[in-house]
Symmetry: C2
Subunit: 338 residues, 2 copies
DNA sequence: CTGAAAGCGCTAACAC
DNA sequence: GTGTTAGCGCTTTCAG
């Protein structure tokens, strides 16, 4: 493989000039530039980013850490990140880790001197946050708190809208399939919002209305299924069920229907994420969508050090589909009977 | 960030000894090793892989290139690759590219000096294959042919099994939703097999029985939908439809049912890949599964330079679910009537 | 505008 | 067992 020295020799310049041509920084006479460019093309020279990163202490790599990969939502996130990262010359390395697995993966990330880390999994232990900052990596969603850059994901409006719809349609007993184990709660305001708005509408949420599970140790679909099965066994009433994400909702629906329940007639179901397949299901799954593209863009811009402090509040949107057509609203009844 | 020199100083040894401790290669007195280890732990030293890669000319990075990322199948592949890669200390970078986008991405891959490239997209132009070999990267599925390592994916048994089932159930007009554009045909033996076995059973396949589309320019789900819509418009008969992958099948089913068709009563549908959601759908989607785990393992072992030449033939398996319960077999009829 | 020197953090190769 | 020397391919810095 031809290196910079070789290109320089062939072009009759010093290697420094080649660097300037390649990087586009610094002054190079137009004539020289063309000569060098020609040699680069002829030889097919491709710079070694490893070496350049070593000396410049800059990295073109961004790491993304997700807790599981069987959930298509993360695909959307990864896809958006790849696309946005590319615009700034970054490439994306994907890691899967959760809980105890974090330190090992973080050491890997650090030893590879990334420019930034976007975390969708458990919070980072303090020492790793410190080290990442030392190597100059930008941290995103590294902890539950507000110590690093993190946009606000406003779920409240969407949740209120969804609950209003369900209550209007006559749902009284509304449950939340949270599915999570203890420390996995990065960035999660969904459950508190749910409780708050239910209370505001005069429906106090009791602890058993929030169904737990082993997410992300077990995959979301399985967690949803198991929640439905437990609920069926208990014989508890459920007019509507909010699930932490779409995959859980899909799992829930699957098991729920096997148990002889109809959706949305007996029970309305909705999720979060708006995965591509949500609308492919029968009934089409109602969900809460966030703007994954914008999220990814803001993250990458933060890492790249560009991007003015524009509006970093991502408003989630409720998307009503058939799975939440529980009962009938007064209007629809009128029409149907009229 | 503390570096190797600093660790060496604190432990009262030379930096070379630290290297030996860290890498576990070469002789170090047990006593020295412990002393160095202690300093490493106290200082939280994490080696710089960038530097080590530069001099050792070894990389711990593997690239995977996929044509699209809205298809959960690639998630399974990526997940399996991450898991297997980790066993050998590799980390995975994910790239999305297709057709014209390949050169740009390949230059990125080359400039980052990866240890290997696993390609699920368009074949590599010759010059990039050459360069990748020069930097010592292992190529997997880089071309349609047999010039590099590639396991055999035996679809034939599974396809035969599926077709036999469909024919036995009385399907006569069987179509294939291929969905692909011209040059995207890496590793694709599915369509030829289909034609071959149909012919063997006395059902010659004509050109219009193979439905095209714009995959992967448009996503698989959309391609499946559009194929169904075209078919509905044409009014052509279709007792059974094989789709190139599960997402296409899901898209096909979605549009097909909107057109008033029942699955599997009017038309049997099946896909390939066995994505997690295939069995969550109603009707559960029949599909052809390959052993993604084993595939990933073989790839990584090849890159790592281990792994004896074991059986590299991956036999795909037909998984019959409800979506292919077209008509009734003689047996079932007997039972139903009996 | 261009080049020479120094060195990023690490390891290969050899010496002791 | 351990240290020394050289240098990976590139950029930074400063001199011209």
């Amino acid at each position: 493989m031809v290196d910079r020295e070789e290109v320089a020799r062939l072009a009759g310049v010093s290697s420094m000039t080649v660097t300037r041509v390649v990087s586009g920084k610094g002054y190079v006479a137009e004539k020289t530039r063309r000569r060098v460019q020609k040699v680069i093309e002829e030889t097919g020279y491709i710079p070694n980013r490893i070496a350049s990163g070593l000396v410049s202490r800059k990295s073109n790599r961004v790491a993304i850490i997700v807790p599981e990969l069987s959930n298509p939502y993360y695909l959307q996130v990864v896809e958006a990140m790849i696309r946005e990262a590319k615009k700034y010359g970054y490439i994306l390395s994907v890691f899967k880790a959760y809980g105890d697995e974090m330190p090992e993966v973080l050491e890997e990330v650090i030893s590879n001197r990334v420019a930034g880390v976007v975390n969708y999994s458990s919070p980072f232990p303090e020492r790793y946050k410190k080290m990442l900052k030392e190597i100059g990596a930008k941290l995103i969603r590294a902890d539950d708190g507000e110590t690093d850059f993190r946009m606000t994901l406003s779920y409240d409006g969407a949740i209120r809208e969804a609950l209003d719809l369900l209550l209007r349609r006559g749902a009284e007993k509304i449950l939340f399939v949270a599915g999570v184990t203890g420390d996995f709660a990065v960035n999660d305001r969904r459950i508190p919002y749910f409780c708050k708005y239910m209370a505001e509408r005069g429906h106090a949420v009791s602890e058993e209305d929030i169904l737990g599970g082993e997410y992300p140790i077990r995959d979301a679909f399985a967690v949803g299924q198991s929640a439905a099965e437990r609920l069926l066994k208990s014989g508890r009433r459920a007019d509507a069920v909010l699930c932490l994400n779409d995959m859980m909702a899909l799992g829930f629906m699957h098991a729920w229907r096997r148990g002889g329940k109809r959706i949305p007639e007996d029970t309305a179901v909705m999720g979060f994420d708006n995965i591509r397949l949500a609308e492919a299901f029968d009934p089409e799954l109602s969900t809460v969508a966030t703007d994954t593209e914008k999220e990814a863009r803001l993250y990458v811009e933060y890492i790249a050090g560009v991007g003015a402090e524009e509006d970093t509040d991502l408003h989630a949107k409720f998307i009503a589909r058939r799975s939440t057509q529980y009962g009938q609203s007064a209007d629809e009844k009128g029409k149907a009977e009229g």
